[in-house]
């Protein structure tokens, strides 16, 4: 009996491993920064380089930090949803404009709308590196005390907003 059972058990275990393993998206690397304080950053603002965007601007409220760029195709797809979120007033969105050209980025906001409370201009990607960003778009959910609660890699869709972001935002806002 046992000699017939063993292969079946081994097979079941393998199926289990493959089921989980192949279901993971290798492009999504879990961020070790979740649950940790957001990295200290200070970036000149996109619209007014004389002014700065830093951790203090994000403090005191639950907020999103959205990494975007004009060279990023998926960001264009995501943009209307960011506009909707900004319009709903549920949560302020801060922008991190990654390795971009200032005129192109400003034109983008003019054409597609500006959902951002403020955008920092990260021309050389140094601040993004500190945040563990490896592509765009990426979106961080940051608590009122500056703790990173969640990170979404890839564009925000309506489904992502409804199932992943909104519940976490509301939970964080209720804790305040």
């Amino acid at each position: 009996m046992l000699r017939y059972l063993i292969p079946v058990v081994v097979f079941a275990v393998l199926v289990g491993f493959f089921w989980v393993g192949l279901g993971l998206n290798p492009g999504e690397i879990p961020s070790p920064l979740i649950g940790k304080p957001a990295p200290i950053f200070e970036l000149p603002r996109l619209r007014d380089p004389e002014q700065y965007l830093n951790n203090a601007d994000m403090q005191g409220q639950v907020s999103l930090l959205n990494v975007w760029a004009t060279w990023c195709f998926a960001c264009r797809q995501e943009h209307p949803i960011l506009n909707e979120i900004a319009e709903s007033g549920v949560v302020p969105i801060f922008g991190l404009n990654l390795r971009d050209q200032r005129p192109a980025a400003l034109r983008w906001l003019e054409q597609l709308g500006d959902p951002y409370a403020a955008t920092g201009f990260d021309g050389d990607g140094a601040a993004a590196l500190d945040w563990g960003v490896y592509g765009a778009p990426e979106t961080f959910l940051v608590d009122a005390d500056g703790t990173i609660l969640y990170k979404h890699i890839a564009p925000i869709t309506h489904g992502v907003w409804r199932d992943e972001l909104l519940p976490r935002i509301q939970a964080a806002q209720n804790r305040q």
Partner: protein, 144 residues
């Protein structure tokens, strides 16, 4: 003349700097350059996951190379550089993840399977050798 031209072309083709990702070495000091080379081979490019940052032209790889260079220049140790990237990108960024309780299966897996394989092989050989000793059973099988 043509031969000489071809020779020059051939030499250009073999020049290592032509294939280098960075236009020039990061450091003039060979000791620092060796550390830079070792570290950039050790860190994985996250956009193109099967390449180390030393081999990749992706912007994240370029940024990470610049960061490694800055940190070495600032006198940081190799471990401090690796700790910096792991703190931000997780163990996945290293080609050789650290030995920790959650990676025991990863590191020990091959040996575990080797032992299981050996046990299976030994038990099969043991059973077969007992079969050969048993003359009656052998004859029964032969008449089949």
């Amino acid at each position: 003349m043509i031969v000489r031209g071809l020779l020059v072309l051939l030499l250009i083709g073999f020049s290592a700097s032509l294939f280098a990702i960075d236009r020039e070495p990061a450091f003039t000091d060979p000791a620092l350059q060796a550390r830079y080379d070792r570290l950039t081979e050790e860190i994985r490019c996250l956009e193109c996951q099967n390449q180390p940052i030393a081999d990749s032209n992706a912007s994240i790889a370029r940024d990470l190379r610049r960061k490694v260079k800055e940190m070495i220049a600032a006198g940081k140790t190799d471990q401090e550089v690796l700790d910096y990237v792991v703190a931000r990108y997780g163990d996945f960024v290293l080609y050789r993840p650290p030995l920790a309780p959650r990676t025991w299966l990863l590191w020990g897996g091959p040996f575990l399977f080797l032992i299981i394989g050996l046990l299976v092989a030994v038990s099969v050989i043991f059973k077969k050798s007992r079969l050969v000793d048993d003359e009656d059973e052998l004859e029964v099988e032969e008449t089949d």
